[in-house]
């Protein structure tokens, strides 16, 4: 919402300057987004007199002027056809910046003749569209004075952000009322501002126009008045200047009047050319499929939920949003019908959303215009039409009833302190409320003014009082604090997430945050997404991710494209599934992608080392350990997923069903889909699948180191090369739990001495004696058990 300072002062009697106004606006909740003063950009441009004009020696269309801009005469080359001796215009000297194009003027030779600046057009100074010639000023304009000062352009324009609850401030008058309530000045009576007596209706002798509303839900009230015999020329300079100052283009008196009142009073109106109407003008629901060409030139197809204004022939207005082109006024218009209606905010909002159509009128109606301002609004509009375009007014038609039932509730002045934290004397509260237009009875029953649709309870009253008193007067009060030091607050799941994150970073991985949404194809390649957006910002951000890997792979690819030789990325975030009841099932997951060199070329070997699947396994196990999982007991099984290399991937499970992690080399086809080459490995840790530890107190088990030294024995077995080594290790470890405390594979060999199709696996077994040291017999017994357990798997001890 933009307005100029002088515009504000039409309604507000105040000496306050721009800064005081802006300060007060911010203080009372009308946030100033920007202040611009057109005079600031025009300060170098001065009023100048053309002393003489002679033809340019080398160019037919140019003239050489001598210009008096308050100093010694200056030579200026000018191409404007209207430049002539004796005229007054606006001169930009060397060093001035032309607002329209940002060009810095300099002393330069134009076709061989020196020019010391420029005589400017309206368009060049961004004061309008006229660029046919240079500006011509009246003869009494003071030569040498800054043009903007003389022209009254030193009038700052304020841009205020109006929150959706404050319809009343969608007009300059409402803003003036708020400022007056805050003590910045006095609100002038509306009748004075428009020089109109609002106590008596402005009704002419012509018959009242034939309008009515058949849709009392969408358009509860439809007031109208006609004016005949108008001449729709330009609006007067004061109105044009105001509209131009806020960036609106003046069009014609009738159009400008409606635009002006929309900004000035927050009251949208519509003016129809009566010559284009057939029969009664009726507010009704549209018929499904009915079309209208709106004033923006676009055709809109309507449905039966939308309120329109139509005559016998066609729709002329998308009620409260935008008028129709057909019955819009033109310079030939002589008879008009002025509509001042009340449209239901919810209807306007729905229609606007459906049509994707926004307008100044919609912004005001959907916030809810003042339902008690139909008569005055129409009277002011008619007066302006009569004043600016002439003609004679008709009687007024008033159909329907706007929702003006007063809102009254009781209020306890203590509530201001109780909720707002500031103690304001009851009389002070009363004064503030009355300045804002509320009426307050002696026993504190408050009637809300018709223009404050947002106020419907005591909390709103506290807000009014506190914002006018000033939030600076609210003193900080500490929250009550529990005794002792702060208690821990993290849940077990939050603690787990934090540990895993820091463990990953400690292992040299970099945490990335990737989009939660993926392209359809990427989601499909990772099991498919349950949730696809209806209105994605692009096709690349459409499906909620079923896996963290696509985002990480894309990030890895971008890094590789930037020349990275090694990428170690991880992310902790949610994957999105649908629960059986249709709610969202969001599962916390850690994803890891390792790409490129595990270690770069170095002087010891001269070779780089690439990541392999075991690097992914190492990360998965390390992070599970950080999450408190006893990883030694996990099963290593297949089915990591189709995005992995089928022969170089696995899952880690706690029991056969509960998959805690998947890892492996990325499937070459997946890598290719992400434009990655080389060995890419990945891991996924399903944090939601990790059983959370129950709190068991801080006491650890007693430390009981064994009294006797452990011994180790090595065994080498020949096994089928297809047999998982872990099966052998697990079998050995489990074959004599009283003695064997650890079994560790330390060699795997195929080749000379090992039969084709087999491998030799060597396992170091750690034996822990308890009450006496092992004798040869004991060791033999244990050794036999190990060999027997291995034999069950088809493993043969190597001789």
């Amino acid at each position: 919402m933009k307005f100029s300072l002088s515009w504000l002062k039409e309604h507000l009697d105040t000496d306050a300057d721009m800064l005081a106004v802006a300060d007060c606006l911010n203080r009372i909740g009308l946030e100033v987004e920007g202040i611009e003063n057109p005079a600031d950009t025009l300060s170098a441009f001065r009023i100048a007199k053309v002393l003489s004009a002679a033809p340019h020696p080398k160019a037919d269309k140019l003239q050489v002027l001598s210009v008096d801009a308050g100093g010694p005469p200056l030579q200026v080359v000018c191409g404007a056809p209207n430049a002539r001796a004796g005229m007054l215009g606006v001169f930009g000297p060397a060093g001035a910046v032309v607002p329209a194009n940002g060009m810095v003027l300099k002393v330069a030779a134009i076709r061989g003749v020196e020019s010391n600046g420029m005589m400017c057009s309206i368009a060049e100074l961004e004061l309008g569209d006229d660029h046919d010639g240079i500006i011509e000023l009246p003869d009494d304009a003071p030569v040498g004075q800054v043009y903007a000062d003389w022209a009254g352009l030193d009038d700052p324009v304020i841009d205020v952000s109006i929150t959706p609850n404050r319809q009343d401030c969608m007009g300059v008058r409402g803003i003036a009322r708020d400022l007056a309530a805050a003590g910045l000045g006095t609100l002038k009576p509306l009748g004075d501002v428009y020089k109109i007596d609002l106590s008596a209706p402005l009704e002419g002798g012509d018959p009242a126009p034939n309008v009515r509303t058949d849709d009392e839900a969408g358009c509860p009230a439809f007031y109208a008045q006609s004016v005949s015999g108008v001449r729709n020329g330009d609006s007067p300079e004061w109105m044009r200047a105001k509209l131009k100052a806020i960036g609106q283009k003046p069009i014609s008196a009738l159009v400008d009047i409606t635009n002006f009142l929309s900004i000035d009073l927050g009251r949208p109106l519509h003016v129809y050319d009566r010559a284009k109407l057939n029969g009664a003008l009726v507010a009704r629901k549209a018929v499904d499929g009915e079309q209208v060409v709106a004033l923006n030139g676009k055709t809109y197809t309507l449905d039966a939920s939308m309120t329109v204004i139509a005559d016998d022939a066609m729709v002329h207005d998308i009620g409260g949003i935008m008028g129709g082109e057909h019955s819009g006024v033109s310079e030939d218009t002589t008879d008009v019908l002025i509509e001042c209606a009340f449209f239901d905010p919810e209807h306007i909002s729905r229609t606007g959303q459906k049509l994707g159509l926004t307008s100044d009128a919609r912004q005001r109606f959907e916030r809810g215009v003042d339902p008690a301002f139909l008569d005055d609004g129409l009277a002011i509009a008619t007066k302006l039409v009569l004043d600016l375009a002439g003609g004679t007014a008709s009687a007024v038609t008033r159909m329907g009833q706007a929702p003006v039932a007063p809102r009254i509730f009781s209020y306890n002045t203590d509530y201001c302190n109780h909720l707002g934290g500031v103690d304001v004397a009851p009389e002070e509260q009363r004064n503030i409320l009355e300045r804002l237009g509320f009426s307050v009875t002696a026993d504190w029953h408050i009637t809300v003014p018709s223009w404050r649709r947002d106020v419907d309870g005591p909390a709103d009253i506290v807000e009014e009082v506190v914002r006018i008193i000033g939030l600076d007067n609210v003193m900080s009060v500490p929250l009550p604090r529990a005794d002792g030091v702060a208690k821990p607050t993290a849940t077990p799941a939050q603690s787990l997430e934090r540990k895993v994150r820091r463990a990953a970073a400690a292992r040299g991985l970099n945490e990335a945050i990737n989009w939660s949404f993926l392209p359809q194809k990427a989601a499909d390649a990772f099991g498919g997404g349950a949730w696809s957006l209806a209105n994605p910002i692009s096709e690349d951000m459409k499906v909620m991710r079923p896996s963290l890997l696509p985002g990480l792979l894309s990030a890895a690819q971008r890094n590789m494209d930037r020349g990275a030789s090694s990428v170690r990325l991880f992310e902790i975030g949610r994957r999105y599934f649908a629960a059986a009841d249709g709610t969202s099932d969001e599962r916390l997951t850690a994803g890891i992608v390792l790409a490129g060199d595990k270690s770069v070329r170095n002087w010891t070997t001269g070779k780089s080392v690439k990541f392999d699947a075991f690097d992914a396994k190492a990360e998965a196990i390390a992070l599970l350990k950080a999450a408190g999982v006893a990883t030694d007991g996990l099963l290593v099984m297949d089915d990591a997923g189709a995005h992995y290399h089928p022969g170089q991937s696995a899952t880690l499970r706690m029991g056969p069903k509960n998959i805690l992690a998947a890892f492996g080399t990325l499937h070459p086809a997946t890598a290719k889909a992400f434009d990655l080459d080389g060995s890419i490995v990945a891991a996924e840790i399903f944090l939601d699948a990790i059983p959370l530890k129950k709190a068991t107190g801080f006491m650890r088990l007693a430390f009981t180191p064994p009294a006797l030294q452990a011994v180790t024995r090595d065994f080498a077995f020949l096994v089928s090369q297809d047999m998982p080594a872990n099966d052998l290790v697990r079998a050995i470890k489990g074959c004599d739990k009283d003695n064997i405390v650890a079994a560790r594979l330390f060699d795997r060999f195929a080749g000379q001495g090992v039969p084709e199709g087999q491998v030799s696996l060597a396992v170091e077994v750690t034996l822990q004696p308890t009450d006496k040291s092992y004798g040869d017999d004991d060791l033999k017994l244990i050794s036999d058990k190990v060999i027997a357990a291995a034999a069950k798997l088809g493993a043969v001890l190597r001789g």
């Binding site: 500031v422 009060v477 949730w531 209806a534 971008r558 249709g582």
Partner: protein, 360 residues
């Protein structure tokens, strides 16, 4: 000079002149070996008379002792020389690089969330969570934002198709963390003090907006909580977060459908080396939205608004990170650029603590 003295002189000379361990060993064998000269003298003691032994014994043993000591000393000397020789051949260029260990990093958003959790834990706030795919009721209706409310249009909501609707509720990507307020109030009894950080989504993308970003919500519900408590909480939080005492807040009346009164909070900053630095009051920037929880919201959650009241606030986590640590492009937060992560990321051990300072 006696024979023994002569022998001792010869042997000492032999030891002194031995320049290798092998030569020294030869001397040792010649003196103390089975056939050695000193051993031979020791053997003669068996055939001596007691008187003779009394005089000769100490002399011969003294000889053995002195030779043994001389041998040991020379051996140590030769061994040291030998070791030094070997070490001299083992010299390695220690300017050669050691093996690289990759440096991992924590994303600034995670770090800041940990910082916030630490600060608010000290004020008694727990961390609450909620789904990112929300239903319309939690994201809007329960927060006093009915379907036709103009505020909805301002949210640029991402919707899921109608056939994903549940109980007639359209499903959306949450546009703010405020639905966690509702989930908390409907699932636990007051008094409540929570913060809720997380991902939020708006259909908006330009230099300063990304379709996904992070917010943190705060909620206090108790008896007798008023705007003054809100002001203190935000001041205390921002001072702790920026670790500056000169943090100045400016509260401005504003509007959010779920709070009444609503307050926007500006923080004062100064410009130092072209960057905005929080502190002082040279100029203001908006950092927080907040207010007293609207009674309709408290009612929607099944609580009695005449008994329970409180405040809520929300702000952007990414923005807080930018203001504290100086990043200037939001989009880079979500690009996964290794160089950026190395530059702005945090070490694993930079765990925010009150005693060590929350900032790193």
């Amino acid at each position: 000079m006696s024979d023994i003295e002569t022998l001792q002189t010869e042997l000492i000379a032999g030891i002194d002149s031995a320049d290798t361990l092998e030569a020294l060993e030869a001397v040792r064998v010649s003196a103390l070996g089975k056939q050695g000269s000193v051993s031979a003298l020791l053997k003669t003691m068996g055939g001596m008379s007691p008187e003779e032994r009394q005089t000769q014994g100490p002399i011969i043993n003294g000889l053995r002792e002195s030779i043994s000591l001389a041998l040991a000393a020379k051996k140590a000397e030769l061994e040291t020389a030998e070791l030094n020789r070997r070490l001299a051949t083992e010299r390695v260029d220690m300017t050669l690089p050691a093996p690289d260990a990759p440096r991992g990093t924590i994303h600034p958003v995670s770090q800041v969330m940990d910082e916030l959790a630490e600060i608010f834990a000290d004020m008694g706030f727990a961390v609450a969570e909620g789904p990112e795919i929300e239903d319309d009721w939690h994201n809007f209706t329960a927060l006093n934002i009915p379907e036709t409310h103009p505020a909805r249009a301002m949210h640029d909501t991402f919707y899921f198709p109608d056939d994903m609707a549940r109980d007639g509720q359209k499903m959306v990507l949450r546009t703010h963390t405020s639905p966690v307020q509702i989930r908390t109030m409907t699932s636990q009894e007051p008094p409540i003090r929570i913060i809720a950080p997380g991902r939020v989504y708006r259909s908006d993308s330009d230099a300063t907006h990304t379709p996904m970003f992070h917010q943190i919500e705060g909620l206090v519900i108790d008896k007798g909580i008023h705007l003054g408590h809100l002001k203190w909480t935000l001041e205390t939080f921002l001072k702790a977060y920026f670790e500056r005492e000169d943090v100045v807040l400016r509260l401005r009346p504003s509007y959010f459908p779920f709070t009444e009164p609503s307050v926007e909070v500006d923080v004062g900053y100064s410009v130092i080396n072209g960057k905005r630095v929080i502190g002082g009051a040279e100029d203001w920037m908006e950092v927080l939205g907040s207010g007293m929880v609207h009674r309709k919201v408290i009612e929607a959650c099944g609580l009695d608004p005449d008994v329970w009241q409180g405040f809520a606030f929300g702000t952007g986590v990414d923005r807080l990170a930018m203001l504290k640590y100086g990043m200037d492009d939001l989009r880079a937060f979500f690009d996964g650029d290794n160089r950026w992560l190395q530059h702005y990321g945090f070490d694993a051990l930079d765990v925010p603590t009150l005693s060590g300072g929350v900032g790193a």
